[in-house]
């Protein structure tokens, strides 16, 4: 079983290794946290692996899971704060470019763009779990 988790971690993009990917009992865990616990053979490791397997098999539907929304939101905010990026869109009523600062504000205030991006991020988490 450890092998399976090790293989999964080795396939992930490097930027994902320290990015929260799973929630358990209100705590967010990164792939490296999960690997460490599973390697140490702790009870937490066993539970994390169980949860990871459930998500991989799609037993828990990510979209209905409020905690997944929060997880995706945290991921996006962390990323935007650590490495600011600008996006370019084709919206008539606003400038083409949107800065990282504006994106962070929209995500924090639950704006339509922020919400829409968080929903896309949930699907990215799902892809990462299934790699």
């Amino acid at each position: 079983m450890l092998e399976k988790v090790e293989r999964w971690v080795s396939r992930l993009p490097k930027s994902e290794l320290e990015m929260p990917i799973l929630e358990l009992d209100g705590v967010l865990y990164t792939p490296l946290d999960i690997l460490e616990e599973v390697r140490a053979g702790t009870e937490l490791g066993e539970r994390l692996q169980e949860r990871w397997e459930e998500l991989r098999r799609g037993i828990r539907t990510l979209h209905n899971d409020e905690t997944m929304y929060e997880l995706a939101r945290v991921r996006l905010l962390k990323r935007l704060q650590e490495r600011p990026v600008r996006i370019m869109t084709l919206t008539a009523g606003m400038p083409t470019e949107i800065t990282a600062e504006q994106l962070i504000r929209d995500i924090e205030t639950g704006g339509d763009l922020g919400e829409s991006l968080v929903k896309a991020e949930i699907k990215v988490v799902q892809r990462m779990i299934r790699i």
């Binding site: 993009p13 930027s15 084709l90 919206t91 990215v124």
Partner: protein, 397 residues
């Protein structure tokens, strides 16, 4: 009814729209198959109106800015609008108060590359008679770059810190599919497949560890999630044609460097690069414009290939071999890739030197007569025959 096989691309340059028009839609327009009549406008209201009037296209593809009930073109001028809607987003409320050109797209496939238009404007266009609508019902993120770097210029290829190409490229896959004879449903599936392809590149592929990859995955997923289509999905606006093609590397000449008088075998592989089967075609081989052979192909499946071959007796000098795929049925989508020309240089045959009369002297004595073997003269013969003859005569002498 609009004219099949006719497309109008509205291609504004202002306000960063050139990121999509200069590098992406213009390329799609350039690569359109032969039977498609392509018209590109500068994206102004006047030019678009004229193009719709003069060419009556079955496909109208426009890149511009959008709201849930509005599509703008060059200089952010309103072009299509559905009145009575409000678009609350990004802390603002945008109001559409009039209907504008909704009835100008009856029978046409309308593809709007802009934000939000898939929400209300797309359904309204179909309601007013458009055959189908392709667009996005939320923000269309067409590019991104890390703030630590300079803003990339239009046409910059995807790189570690920025990408202003992949979303537009995935979007353009739709109209590209329509022009090549695909249905509206084929177009949507092709767009989705292209978005998936880019997401995979950024997730497990060669771009996964680029610094901006962690954003790219999310932005592309966002665009994919908000791609929408309405109307008649089975509609096919352009002819379904094969695309037979032959390239220099598909032609094999044996021997590679023929000598004068030598028989030369010429073989060609003909590919069908199109989405539809070819029922028949003739492959003709010409040397210096003169027909030397022909192969009739009884059909080439889409994505498949067929062989054609002929023979030629090499003639001294410099020649041009032309392999030409002709009389394709149904009509070939891109006749420009049906002909290939190859230069052949045939050197003169090597001269066989005439042999001088040969004097054979047998050095061992002729026992029967007690004399030495008389001298014999042989005509010019090949060296091997000469040697045999020499041995023979010497033995019997």
């Amino acid at each position: 009814m609009p004219r099949k096989d006719v497309v109008v691309f509205s291609e504004p340059s202002c306000c960063d729209i050139n990121y999509l028009t200069w590098c992406i839609t213009r390329k799609v327009a350039e690569e359109a198959p032969a039977p498609v009549e392509v018209h590109e406008t500068d994206g102004t209201v006047a030019e678009n109106d004229r193009a719709l009037e003069d060419f009556d296209p079955v496909i109208f593809h426009s890149v511009g800015h959008g709201e849930c009930c509005l599509h703008t073109v060059e200089n952010r001028e309103k072009y299509i609008e559905a009145g009575g809607y409000t678009c609350p987003h990004y802390g603002e409320v945008f109001v559409c108060d009039e209907d504008l050109r909704l009835g100008r797209f009856v029978g046409r496939v309308v593809h709007l590359t802009s934000c939000h238009t898939g929400k209300y404007l797309g359904p309204e266009l179909v309601e007013h008679g458009a055959r189908a609508f392709i667009g996005y019902d939320s923000y269309f993120i067409f590019g991104w770059y890390l703030e630590e770097t300079e803003k990339p210029s239009p046409c910059t290829p995807p790189g570690p810190l920025q990408d202003v190409r992949s979303p537009g490229d995935a979007d353009a896959e739709g109209v590209r599919t329509l022009l090549n004879g695909g249905s509206v449903e084929d177009a949507i599936n092709a767009m989705k497949a292209k978005f998936e392809e880019y997401i995979e590149k950024y997730t497990t592929g060669e771009w996964k560890d680029w610094p901006a990859a962690e954003f790219a995955r999310t932005w592309l997923q966002h665009d994919l999630d908000h791609l929408v289509v309405y109307g008649d999905l089975s509609y096919v606006p352009c002819s379904r044609l094969p695309d037979l093609a032959v390239a220099p590397e598909d032609v094999v000449i044996t021997p590679e460097e023929p000598a004068e008088g030598e028989e030369v075998a010429i073989a060609a592989i003909v590919h069908n690069a199109g989405l539809f089967d070819a029922e028949s075609a003739n492959v003709r081989f010409y040397i210096d414009g003169e027909l030397i052979g022909e192969t009739v192909l009884d059909g080439v499946e889409a994505g498949g290939h067929a062989y054609a071959a002929t023979k030629w007796m090499a003639v001294r000098g410099a020649h041009t071999l032309t392999v030409s795929v002709e009389e394709v049925a149904p009509e070939d989508a891109r006749p420009e890739n049906n002909v290939v020309e190859i230069s052949i240089e045939v050197p003169p045959a090597p001269e066989v030197p005439a042999l001088a009369p040969l004097l054979i002297e047998c050095l061992f004595p002729r026992v029967a007569y007690g004399t030495l073997t008389p001298r014999m003269k042989l005509a010019a013969v090949c060296p091997r025959l000469r040697c045999l003859a020499e041995t023979f005569f010497c033995l019997i002498a």
